[in-house]
Structure formats: structure tokens, C-alpha cells
Amino acid sequence: MTAPATLTHTLAARDLRVDTVAGHPVLKGVSYEIAPGEVLALVGESGSGKTTAGLAALGHFRRGLVHTGGAISLQSGAADPVSVLDVGDRERRQLRGSTVAYIPQDPAASLNPALRIGKQIGEVLETHGYGASDAERSARIAEVLAEVGLPDDESYRRRYPHELSGGQQQRVGIAMAFACRPSVVVLDEPTTGLDVTTQTLVLRTVAALTTEHDTAALYITHDLAVVATIAHRVAVLRNGEVVEYGSADEVLRSPSHAYTRELVTAVPHLDGTGATDTSGSVTSPTSASPTSASASGASASDGPASAGARGDRGRRPVLSVSGLSVSYGDHHVLRDVSLDVRAGECVMLLGESGSGKTTLSQCVAGLGEPHAGTVSLAGAPLAASTQQRTAEQLRSVQYVFQSPYSSLNPRKTIAQSVELPLRTLTDLDAAARRARVTETLERVRLDPALAERLPDELSGGQRQRAAIARGLVTTPDVLLCDEVTSALDVSVQATIIDLLCELRRELGTAMLFVTHNIALARHVADRIAVLRGGEVIESGTVDEVLDFPSHEYTRELLANTPRM
């Protein structure tokens, strides 16, 4: 460390309190300290106040929030500590971007779409008087772009944000933050929404930069697997309070607070078990379900497709995709994809963004573009568009969308939304429909009292349950689950996965589980198909693919998946 021996921290928050304008507390006395070169992970679920706590380090509070107490002190090098929340606007502006920098969650929204990226990095340097001349600043831009592993040539710097991929945009965000060599960086879930390979790259970049420049980092995340990879210490935030604080090892291996234990248990593992063997109860119920589900699936299902043989291999596919190709102009989204889903089986369709996995599930559902190849249901070919499919076919294939925040009509009550497919696809009368809706809502463990509410009044997890209920209400033979957990917190994800496994066991519905998260494989799936660049590059049972991956890409994915 270059800092004097007396220096114990670069950033310290003491008893930080923030309320909403209406007086509702958001942070109820949060304290933390970060030493130079140290990474503190601030862990919590959405609504826990972690972003508020992070932005406070820059003296920034979003609209509707007011600082009501506590202090944040910032010490840069040998200078006297500065109380970030007490200094004037001008001084605070001078700190931001130069001494303390912020890396946002969503780089696509945080980079100005109308400015070239070189300009966006350059304006930080210019504002803070970094470098004496334009040439010097230009050299620094090139240097910092190289540091985050991006090309540093002039033509790259002249690009607009929309000409970069998500991972590249995030690295531009990191370059922007590190441009002035700050003493503290606040990273707000910088890898959410990135593919695992890119995530690993970003995490490595952050780790290298913080070590190299002795930067203190506040890393905000809800992903404990990422915490294990990058953090030295962890603060667990819940409802605006730090419930547990300690070294990463302590908190993750032997959590003392019940909430932390719950979080740790909820993290999906590649080996299918919950966490390490801290206690017997940690093993989540999901871990046992795939095998039992596939066994009971065939017997429990009463769909027409299950009339065949009962043996696992002998069952006829209920959904069969063969030779499916889709292209937009010259761009091939899917090339000759073939895939079978047998009755009662769950197939995981694994792929990163842009692999064509959503296009594939939309083709199956009849929502996609015209395509070559066939999709057939229990042997009968399905038309490419929902408009040409029969009601019975539509009833048999249902879809659960990624974001429960946008897939439910905000002006219809939950009961109305769930009832809709019954109204359009079956000829049940009103009373029978109502009975079916109630039954299905019970099945997805949604409080019947919520049936008459609007989606806005429900939490994310409750909404996704409602969306699943809408998918299951017509008792489909195949349920398409398109990234159904990626918009949800980890602990909610665990309960949704549990629910899907249970439903599959009870109803014998076959599932195509589309995801980018290979860690979920052993928790939900019987078989995996790995999609890359529109082609299925590997498929097989979960054990085959995870234990003996045959394709280089699968091995890379496995290697880059963070573990605890």
C-alpha cells in the first residue's frame, strides 16, 4: 500500500439514514468501511436500499429521497478526509468522477446515445483538469480503453454506444470510471445482464484495476456467486439495515444471520446441491426434484401424448422441432435446429444473448417469423403463426415470458389475465372457468386474495407466479419458459424453480426451459441443448453435458460460471 500507515479506510459510511420524501425509511443507519485496494460487496435484494447506499458515497440521492442522518467520509491519499455529504455543490462535483467514480448497472441506459464514447470518457478528464493538453488526455483515453481490454484506436473511440455490444458498453463504463484514477469506485451490479463469459472478463478487469491502483471498491450485487469471486468483505443489506458484516469467507461459508443463510441456500449450483454442507437443511428441495419428476412425470400426466411407453427413452416426443432455420435478410438467427421434448420432460435450452434461443421458443409458440423446417406437436405439424393454429393446438403450447413486469396487462386483474386463455381457447362456461382459475392460482401458491388485484400491487415473484398460472391454466402439454427467472432476485428465483419442478411432477407438463444460466441445469432439467450462433452445438442428459462436455464452448461456459 502506498498510503500512510495511519490510514485505515478510503471510504467510510457511518449510521447513514435516508428517507423517502413521504417519510418512509429507506436506509436505517448503514455503516461500512473500505480500505484501499479492498472490495466490499454490498449484498441485498431489489428494494433493500443497496443502490441508495452506493450512490450516497457520491453524495447523490435520487428524486424523492432525502438524507436524514449519518456521514460519509472520503480519504484520498494523504489528504484530509472529506465529508462527502457536508461539502458544497461545487466541491462535491469536483469529487465525483475524479476521487469517487460510479459504474452503473445498465450501461445501455447510462451512456449518452448521441455522443461518441471517446468524447464521453474525455469529458471526465476535461472537467477534472486531468492532463495538461488535449493530446495528453487523448493518450489517457487510449490507455484506459486498453486497460479494460478494448481497442484504443481512433476509429473505435469515434463509435456511438449503440455500435457496441453490452459487454463492450459496460467496459466503456468502467473505463470512464477509472479514467481519472479515482480512490473509490462504486459498482452497481455491473455484470447483471451480461453473459457469463463477459461477466468473467468484466470481473477480472475490475479486480485487476482495483489492485493495481489501490482503489477501494464498493461492489453492489445480489449475486452471491459473484461475491465469492471478487469481494474481500461482505455487508448484507436487508430493508435498509446491514444484517451481517464480515469477511467474504465468513459470511458465505458460515452465515450467522438467518436471512444470509436463506440467500446462500438460494444460489443455484452446478452440482445441483444447495451450497456447501453447513447443515442438512441447506440442501434445497429442488435438488432432488428432476429425477423424481421425470419418473413420476410419465405416470402422472394424462395428456394424449403420454399414452405411449413408460420407459424414459421410449417415450414419444410431445414436441419435436426439426430442421428449423430462421434468417433476417443475410443474418441467420437459427440454422437447421432439431430438438425433441418428450412428455413430462424438461429440456434446458442454454444460450447466451444473441444465440437465437428466444427466436426458437417463439417459433415453437407460433409468435416467430416465418421459418423453414417443421415444429410438430405429438406428431402433428404446427403452422408457423398462431393465427393458423387450432384452438386445441394453442391450448397445448403455452408461453411464460421473461419479465413479469411487462407480460401482464397492467389494467387487468390477475384473475382476468389468468382467465383469458380459457375464454379464448376453451368452451368452458363462466363458472367452470372461475373454478379453474382459482384451482390454478392455488397450484402456483398464489394467495387467492391477490386474484382481484392489479399486477402493480404484486411483487416480482408473485407476478411471475401469476404468469405461470396463466400458462398452466389450459393444462398445456408443453410449457415454454423463456428466461422466467432472470428478472427476479436470487431467492425468488429459487422459489420459482421449486414451483416449476413441483408443477411438472404434479401435472406432467413437458417444459422447454430457456435460459442463459447453466447453474440452473441440475435444478430443473433432464436434458440440455446448448445453442450458439443459431446452432445446437451440444445436447444430451444433464449429467453428460455437465460432467463430460464435448464442445469447447460448453467447457468455457462451465469454467466461467462463478462458484461459491
Binding site: H60, A101, S110, A114, E123, V124, T127, H128
Partner: protein
């Protein structure tokens, strides 16, 4: 980008052609007979027939349309039935006079509306914001003749006799030779248009100020002035340009009432006179002119929208 703009241009031309068709059909449907209107009630049938022949009014409808359309393309808008002179000559000076009003009002209301909207958005929820919102709503609810009359009462009668309530310049002299007579008409038009621009700018700007990139710009420590001018305003301009265009296009029509009110020698006055005199050729020419302004202004708004959006700009470049 050019392909996109060319496509918009082609659409504009098509719309303009449709307008010529509508204008022509509409004047056919006008009640009354132009020849009788010119010659008065006492005219003999022979004289009316002679005038019809002279004006080409007995030719088949489609031929009259084609003749007129051909004239429009060659800059010959026909002959005014009332003054017996060419329409172009009659309108020449008046177009300039109206343009002074239009451009004056457009420049002031656009600049004022954008500034007021931005200022209001930056002080969201405070007294200033509520005042601006309330006032703009009240003013927007008033029709232009009410605003004009109110301004005359306040600024040109006994209360504060500052500006003339009518145009003082004698016919033939350019209106801008006495700038003081332009104040009230321009002020009236400005007051009519500004509230809409202000409200739209406030709404768009509020949204932009809540965006991730504006928050990021502030967290980078940029001075507030740079945050607003470089990161916020350019993103608000695109959508607001559409509203400005609609308002400016409205100005082209609104000018009629305001010119009448202030006895201002522009095309609005000319239109009213022409309608009274059944001067069909003049009515057609002015209607076409106003429609042309509508279309050009909207085209400019679309181009501004394309220019301020690098995504569209790039797509076009490819």
C-alpha cells in the same frame, strides 16, 4: 440518411398533390357563381356567359384542374377575378408581410418555449413549475382572438398606450418600415403557440432528466450547464420538434385571424377578402400556400428528428 430524407420528401410531394386536388374540389363546391359575384346581382345572363367564357369556367372540370395545376408548376397562379391582376402580383408583397409575422412568432415562441420548458423541468414540483404549468394551461385554453383583443385593451388603449392596435403603414409601404406595429400581432401569435411548446418541452425534459445518462453525467462531476446542454437538451429536442412543427404549421393558418384583427396587410387579410369576393383563384393560391407551409415545417421536424438520433443517422449511412 439521405435515402430516409428523400423518402420523406417524396411523401411530402404526394401529400401536396392531394392537397391541390382537395383545394380544387373544395372551391368547386363553394356556393354561388364567381361570375355573378364579380358582376353583381343586376348582371345580364349574356354578360355572365361572356365572363364565364373569359375565365374558362365552362371547360370540363378535369381540364380546368389540369390547367390550374400546370399554372401552379410554372408559377402562374391565375388571374384574380376581383382585381383583374395576376394572383402572384397581388400576393407578392403580402407573403413577405405574413412571413415577417410567422418567422418572428416562430423564433420567439420556439426559443421561449424551449427555455421555459427546460427551466420548469429543472424545478419540477416547485412553485415556479406549478406557476408555469398553470399559466401555460390557461393561455393555451384561450383562442387567439381573445388574446389579441386582451392585448389591445391592455397595451394599446388607455391602460398602457404603448403600441398601435392596427397597422399604420399605408398600402405599398413594407410593414417592417414601422417595427412598432409588428409588436402586438407577433406577441399574440407567440402567446398562442408558446404554451404547447413549453408543456411538451417540460414533459420530455423531465423524462430525459430522469434518464440513466443524465444521472451518469452528474455522477461524472460535470458542471450542471454541461449536463443540461450536452446531455439532456439534445435528447429532448427530437420529440419536441414534432410539436413545434405542428404549432408552426398552425401559425400559418392562425395568421388569418390575427391579421384580420390587426388589419395587417398579409395573406390572411387577402384570403378573407378573396372569400368575400368569391375570388376563387386567390383562395386556391393562398390555401395551397398555407398547406405548403404545413408540409415543409413537418418535413423539417422529421429531419431534425433524424439528425438528433445517431441510431437513425447511422442506419441511413450504411
Amino acid at each position: 440518411m439521405f435515402r430516409l430524407i428523400l423518402r420523406r420528401l417524396a411523401i411530402s410531394v404526394a401529400v401536396l398533390w392531394l392537397v391541390t386536388l382537395l383545394v380544387f374540389v373544395a372551391t368547386l363546391l363553394l356556393p354561388g357563381d364567381p361570375a355573378r359575384a364579380i358582376l353583381g346581382q343586376q348582371a345580364t345572363p349574356e354578360r355572365i356567359a361572356a365572363l364565364n367564357d373569359q375565365l374558362g369556367l365552362d371547360a370540363p372540370v378535369w381540364q380546368r384542374y389540369l390547367d390550374w395545376l400546370g399554372g401552379v408548376f410554372t408559377g402562374d397562379l391565375g388571374t384574380s377575378a376581383a382585381s383583374q391582376g395576376p394572383v402572384t402580383e397581388l400576393l407578392g408583397g403580402r407573403i413577405g408581410a405574413s412571413l415577417v409575422l410567422l418567422v418572428g412568432a416562430a423564433v420567439i415562441s420556439t426559443a421561449g418555449g424551449l427555455a421555459l420548458g427546460t427551466w420548469s423541468a429543472l424545478r419540477r414540483g416547485r412553485a415556479v413549475d406549478h406557476t408555469v404549468s398553470g399559466l401555460s394551461l390557461v393561455v393555451a385554453a384561450l383562442p387567439e382572438f381573445v388574446i389579441g383583443v386582451a392585448l389591445i385593451v391592455v397595451l394599446s388603449t388607455t391602460v398602457l398606450p404603448l403600441f398601435p392596435s392596427v397597422t399604420l403603414a399605408p398600402p405599398g409601404e413594407p410593414v417592417w418600415s414601422q417595427p412598432i406595429q409588428l409588436v402586438l400581432p407577433i406577441l399574440t401569435l407567440t402567446l398562442v403557440v408558446t404554451p404547447y411548446i413549453t408543456r411538451m418541452m417540460r414533459a420530455t425534459m423531465s423524462e430525459v432528466l430522469d434518464s440513466g445518462y443524465v444521472e451518469m453525467a452528474r455522477l461524472k462531476g460535470l458542471p450542471e450547464r454541461v449536463v443540461i446542454t450536452r446531455h439532456a437538451v439534445p435528447h429532448a429536442i427530437g420529440p419536441v420538434a414534432q410539436v413545434i412543427a405542428i404549432q408552426l404549421a398552425w401559425l400559418a393558418g392562425g395568421v388569418v385571424v390575427v391579421e384580420f384583427l390587426f388589419r395587417y396587410p398579409g395573406i390572411g387579410q387577402a384570403l378573407i377578402d378573396a372569400v368575400n369576393n368569391r375570388d376563387v383563384e386567390v383562395v386556391q393560391a393562398i390555401t395551397l400556400l398555407i398547406a405548403g407551409v404545413y408540409i415543409v415545417v413537418n418535413l423539417i421536424a422529421d429531419i431534425v428528428g433524424i439528425m438528433t438520433n445517431p441510431k437513425l443517422r447511422a442506419e441511413v449511412a450504411r
